[in-house]
């Protein structure tokens, strides 16, 4: 008789292994908070979020970095979201299967380009372009937004394509059968039905932009100042950590970890929001209602009374 691993043992050990990602997440949380938490308490949350950053005089406030991250991230979304959703629509709805089977892997493969390479492209191509055509020093919130806008594309495209493909085929068929064109179907049936998935894509793209470090350091200028125009240099939360971590000690280092806590909390909130948005996708009967309303709208768009 051969020896057999008892199934209970297998199951228990696999459960242990499966909990590893949760354990790692907890470990990261504990250690980041252990290093940065005490300083947060000491400085006070209010001061930390509103004060100036001057480590030489023991002043630790990240207000300007929060502004920097916000500026660069919103700029990145302004650029990345329209292009990302456009690509997703083309990939999921318009491209013939053969074109899709080339385009989708092409985008995913190119998404693997290291962030330092994006940053380098920013330095050698984008910054000179901004300097000569728009003005300013080049390294700026605008440059950071453009580079990050490109970098969030794969995230936005990937999740949006999934969301669009999750819309049942019958929805499209119903709409087309009512005489709608393909574009009307996409705009009034498919996109509304996939809305929560697309929202999740945007949120996760936002998380990607907020968390990106190396590329932003290379193009955003990194001065701790209040930006008054997109051409001003900004420093993001991530850049603050990476730039000063090399030589910081004592309270200064704790302040960088506290910056890390803020970043970590932002990311966790965004992840949870994305999860909520995506969770709704499955059990939403609202989708059906939307479809019915749109279909009704499509049947008699021209019969509507004139309002103007």
């Amino acid at each position: 008789m051969r020896f057999r691993l008892p199934e209970k043992v297998v199951e228990r050990s696999l459960l242990l292994v499966a909990m590893s990602s949760v354990a790692i997440l907890l470990l990261i949380t504990v250690f980041i908070f252990r290093e940065g938490g005490p300083l947060l308490v000491q400085v006070g949350l209010g001061n930390f979020f509103s004060g100036a950053w001057d480590p030489q005089h023991d002043q630790y406030g990240i207000a300007l970095m929060v502004v920097g991250s916000f500026a660069v991230t919103s700029g990145a979304l302004l650029i990345g979201v329209p292009f990302g959703i456009a690509c997703a629509i083309v990939l999921a709805e318009m491209a013939p299967p053969r074109a899709r089977s080339i385009l989708k892997p092409a985008i995913e493969v190119l998404a693997g380009i290291p962030s330092v390479v994006y940053g380098f492209m920013g330095i050698v191509v984008l910054l000179p372009m901004i300097r000569t055509h728009i003005g300013g020093p080049g390294a700026s919130a605008l440059a950071g937004s453009i580079i990050l806008g490109i970098m969030v594309l794969p995230t936005v495209i990937g999740i949006s394509v999934d969301a669009l493909q999750a819309v049942p085929r019958s929805y499209r068929e119903a709409s087309l059968a009512l005489g709608a064109t393909q574009w009307q179907t996409i705009r009034r049936v498919v996109l509304p039905a996939a809305r929560s998935g697309i929202v999740a894509a945007v949120i996760l793209g936002m998380g990607r932009a907020v968390g990106e470090t190396m590329a932003v350091i290379m193009v955003a200028g990194n001065s701790v100042q209040m930006p008054h125009s997109p051409l001003d240099s900004v420093r993001t939360l991530t850049a603050n950590i990476a730039l000063e971590m090399g030589y910081a000690a004592g309270d200064h280092r704790a302040a960088l970890f506290a910056t890390g806590i803020v970043l970590f909390v932002i990311i966790m909130i965004l992840n949870t929001l994305a999860n909520l948005a995506r969770g709704r996708l499955k059990k939403r009967s609202v989708v059906v209602v939307t479809l019915a309303a749109t279909a009704a709208d499509l049947v008699k768009p021209r019969a509507k009374p004139e309002e103007q």
Partner: protein, 287 residues
């Protein structure tokens, strides 16, 4: 102008045509930017990539010489990361697909993995620095960098492995079980071998992510330039991506920067193309 008249100015067919043109143009622009980046780097760098560059040690803080110590360091850190993340990731995937129903525990595990996937690499760097470098006393080392990378790529391995295992038809398991195999035997001898290409894809993607990572390794493996090849797990190392970052940011040498970028980009392209090629063949088999 009345609304009805305006509506007739652009018929649904015309608006469809406009939308198609605009969307395809945006798609083309996106692809063009990505292709431009690759071609730009490779075109300027390829001339400076030579056998001496790939097998030589750097000198004059990277201004001259090659990148062999960085290549070895990158490979060591990556190998360690993958070696640790693979069993953990595949184990998690097996548990999620074979040993449990969807419920509270799977929700917690999935949420953990998803959150981990969203954690920025700089946070992994901070954590690795405190935990591995300082608390566990590994110093700036290959060990600390590899462990940090393992944590970082774990979600990728879990996700792809889970998909791969799920796509193995239930009949495979049923046949194994009906022949008298235990559940574990059927998984090890039937399910895992069938899912292997898919699992491999996840692992290869993890390799790609490790090689291109900068922020997480710069604080855990260090960034000091070494002319000798690292020989122990406790040696610090500057990975290729970190080396490239220093060259580019400090403007040490444009030629060497382009050459290093070319090596990085080509490596990543080859790795990712391989991963997707394996995956698409695998998916075809079970369709």
């Amino acid at each position: 102008m009345s609304a009805a008249a305006r509506r007739r100015l652009i018929t649904p067919r015309q608006s469809q045509f406009c939308a198609r043109v605009i969307l395809w143009a945006m798609m083309a622009a996106t692809l063009a930017v990505l292709v431009f980046i690759v071609l730009f780097v490779v075109k300027r760098g390829l001339a400076h990539v030579s056998w001496e560059f790939l097998t030589g040690a750097p000198s004059l803080s990277g201004k001259a010489g090659g990148v062999l110590p960085m290549i070895v360091g990158t490979l060591a850190v990556t190998a360690l990361g993958v070696a640790l993340a693979t069993p953990l990731g595949v184990g998690t995937a097996i548990y999620l697909t074979e040993y449990t129903r969807e419920g509270r525990i799977t929700k917690i595990i999935r949420f953990g993995a998803e959150c981990l996937a969203g954690v920025p690499s700089i946070i992994f760097g901070l954590f690795g620095f405190v935990f591995f470098v300082l608390v566990l006393g590994f110093g700036w080392s290959i060990l600390a960098g590899g462990l940090t990378l393992a944590f970082m790529i774990l979600p990728t391995v879990i996700r792809t492995s889970e998909e791969a295992i799920k796509s193995v038809p239930p009949s495979y398991r049923e046949v194994a079980l009906s022949l008298g195999a235990s559940k574990w035997e059927s998984i090890v001898k039937v399910v895992l071998p069938s899912a292997m290409p898919g699992i491999l894809t996840g692992v290869i993607l993890g390799v790609g992510r490790s090689i291109s990572e900068t922020a997480a390794v710069i604080f855990t493996s260090g960034s000091s330039l070494s002319k000798v090849i690292p020989t122990s797990l406790f040696d610090g190392t500057r990975t290729l991506a970190v080396h490239f970052y220093q060259l580019a940011r400090e403007g040490i040498s444009a030629d060497k920067a382009y050459a290093t970028a070319t090596v990085l980009v080509l490596a990543i392209l080859i790795i990712n193309v391989t991963a997707y090629a394996i995956m698409s063949r695998f998916m075809k088999r079970y369709r």
